[in-house]
């Protein structure tokens, strides 16, 4: 199977091939370098004039892409490190995310604006890059009205998710790629010896006109799960490793729910799993305070009431990410942390 990076690179190539309105803008994208993480490698040679390498001006070129999207193109922006999204935050929150709603009140269909813009960016730590190149900052953008946030994982087809986003979105969309996910192998969920998968694709519920799938994963042949584990992006990889060890080493069986749509928040598959297990552990690489897991727990509690017996969050410590390997490993949630937490939650009642 290809890596997630291969899958995303193929998707960008397909998007450029299938729709001439697609352009890619970002820093250091030109071949032979092909972008800091190589997601755009080979594209500037194959599509001259459509992969634009920019000055170090995140707000400026994000703004350019917004203007291009308003005027009928379908630009894709790469922000080299997710940490630098803060430099473009005003463009994303005060401009891109507002325009469709703000401008389109009282307008006939033909006079409305649309804003088909995809902003891709790598997030996450575990590579020793230190406090300003390792963060998981998407929590600051989740819940922004008018902005869709997606996170691919290694399950299914991450490239298809990106391709659909580029070709079909009419809203600005933030596409959060975890750095360690790039080198992970894509898992063919139809051919797994170890796991059984179900995909939840609620197309009628999908805001931008395409589905952001949620994957449900169980250890193959295991008894009914007693806990629901939810995580996205690379954290879902670690959660799956924990899930396997819990089954084989501890005989604790959990169901893993992996959303690819973070905002707007789609709760249906998770709530269905919680109806079966009554226990929830939400795992994220972002900081714990006021984050994604907090929202997931709040919504689960609101929906299930007393049927939710136990709920916990596992997340990064509320600190910047240290550069030193042992310190960074301590600050970010690990497979061991997940296993420990699941054991506590399933054995204490």
């Amino acid at each position: 199977m290809p890596t997630v990076l291969d899958s995303l690179n193929t998707a960008l190539r397909q998007a450029l091939t299938q729709d001439e309105r697609v352009l890619i803008l970002g820093e250091d994208l030109l071949d032979p370098y092909g972008g800091a993480f190589k997601v755009t490698r080979g594209l500037s040679d194959a599509f001259p004039g459509r992969v634009l390498t920019t000055p170090i001006s995140e707000a400026g070129f994000t703004g350019l892409a917004i203007g291009m999207a308003l005027r009928g193109l379908r630009p894709v922006v790469e922000i080299m490190f997710g940490d630098f999204l803060t430099l473009a935050a005003d463009q994303i929150i005060n401009h891109a995310a507002k325009f469709r709603w703000m401008y389109n009140g009282n307008k006939p269909e033909t006079e409305r604006v649309s804003l088909p813009l995809v902003i891709r960016t790598p997030m996450g730590g575990r590579r020793g890059y230190g406090p300003t190149h390792s963060q998981t900052l998407e929590k600051h953008f989740l819940g922004t009205p008018g902005l869709v946030v997606l996170a691919p994982c290694a399950l299914g087809d991450p490239g298809q998710l990106l391709l659909d986003a580029i070709l079909f979105t009419n809203d600005p969309l933030l596409f959060v790629e975890n750095k360690l996910l790039y080198l992970a192998q894509v898992q063919d969920i139809t051919q797994s010896d170890d796991f059984e998968f179900r995909i939840h694709n609620d197309r009628t519920d999908a805001e931008p006109g395409f589905a952001a799938p949620t994957y449900l994963c169980r250890v193959r042949g295991a008894p009914p799960p007693t806990l629901t584990l939810t995580a996205y992006g690379y954290m879902a990889e670690l959660a799956q490793q924990a899930q396997r060890r819990l089954a084989y080493e501890h005989e604790v069986f959990v169901e893993l729910v992996v959303p690819t749509g973070l905002s707007p928040c789609k709760m249906h598959p998770l709530l269905a799993s919680l109806e079966r297990t009554g226990r929830l552990l939400a795992v994220e690489e972002g900081t714990r305070n006021l984050g994604w897991g907090a929202e997931i727990l709040a919504r689960s509690a609101e929906a299930l009431g007393a049927r939710l017996k136990r709920a916990r969050r596992l997340a990064a410590h509320d600190l910047p990410i240290p550069a030193s390997g042992p310190l960074e490993a301590h600050v970010l949630p690990s497979v061991e942390n997940i296993i420990q937490c699941c054991l506590e939650m399933t054995q204490s009642d």
Binding site: S57, A59, G63, I66, G67, L73, E111
Partner: protein
């Protein structure tokens, strides 16, 4: 947009002069009507009036074709009306009515109609304007984009990212800087080091600078620059030193009353231009515009509020 532009070549100078006066007087009476009625509580939020700067919007936007694009800012009423926007829809937008330009969602600063866009954050829309210009260029259109900035906007870093990209990628855009010498309450001397034209020169963007309130000086300068933008598909700048007569928004003017009075005497674009019209012609235009603006206000006032069901 104004349909008469296609007939530009067929018009006499006298007709053009009358049109320009009408367009400027329309903005003047719109803004005065806004300020007169604000204390009654008919408008939501705040407003930034264009009093004194009318010649800028009218002199520049008179040249725009149907397919061309305008990006404006917080002080957008004059730009919107000069672009050809409807006075009733603008009053209604300020009143939060369903008939407003954006159904009352945006209010005074956040307008979109046809190819006209404004937003309330300083400088943020400038790179977006550059992107729009580049999109038109990529589509093969020979269309110019205009972006209006104020002297206060020049404090925002993103403006220089946008100028750099506009020059690097040769965006067909005209930057119009309206230096009204005051940003909210801060005089330009306390906010701006160096010169304005040097900022464009640094990016090799040719700039023309005018210190005038006479629409007949602005009109040809803007026309020539826009023609260069279209034919050479490259950025240009027009720096207009101007004066606003009203407060930044409402009742927040810290300048001495004598200063304003002196400006009104020497730099009023309506007085300067009225000298070119016969008294009868001037009176007729003013009566027609007065009637249009008062009817627009009354109609907007009678319109229903936007429905919560449409949110």
């Amino acid at each position: 947009m104004l349909p008469q532009k296609n007939l530009w070549a067929m018009k006499t100078m006298q007709q053009i002069e009358a049109e320009l006066y009408r367009a400027m007087f329309r903005i003047r009476r719109f803004e005065e009507t806004v300020l007169d009625n604000f204390p009654k509580g008919v408008f939501f939020g705040t407003t930034h009036t264009y009093l004194g700067q009318e010649a800028n919007a009218v002199g520049v936007l008179h040249h725009m074709n149907q397919d061309e694009v305008v990006f404006s800012n917080h002080r957008c009423h004059g730009h919107f009306l000069a672009y050809g926007g409807d006075a009733r829809a603008l009053f209604a937008e300020l009143m939060g009515k369903a008939s407003g330009v954006c159904g009352g969602r945006g209010g005074s600063q956040h307008l979109h109609w046809r190819n006209f866009y404004s937003n309330g954050v300083q400088g943020g829309i400038v790179p977006i304007a550059v992107g729009a210009a580049l999109a038109e260029k990529r589509k093969g259109a020979r269309a110019a984009t205009v972006a209006f900035l104020g002297d206060g906007t020049l404090g925002e870093g993103v403006v220089y990212e946008a100028l750099n990209l506009a020059a690097l990628w040769q965006a067909p855009i005209l930057f119009v800087v309206e230096n009204n010498h005051i940003a909210q309450t801060t005089p330009v001397e306390l906010a701006l080091a160096g010169g304005i034209s040097a900022r464009f020169a640094a990016f090799d963007i040719p700039a023309r600078e005018l210190d005038t309130s006479d629409v007949m000086e602005i009109l040809p300068a803007a026309g020539a620059l826009l023609e260069q933008v279209r034919t050479q598909s490259a950025p240009r700048a027009l720096i207009l030193h101007t004066w606003r007569f009203g407060p930044h928004s409402k009742g927040d003017d810290t300048r001495p009353a004598e200063t304003i009075a002196r400006l009104r005497q020497s730099r009023d674009p309506l007085t300067l231009h009225a000298a070119r019209l016969s008294p009868a012609e001037k009176e007729a235009i003013e009566a027609q515009v007065e009637d249009e603006i008062q009817r627009a206000y009354q109609q907007a006032f009678a319109d229903p509020y936007s429905s919560i069901a449409d949110l």
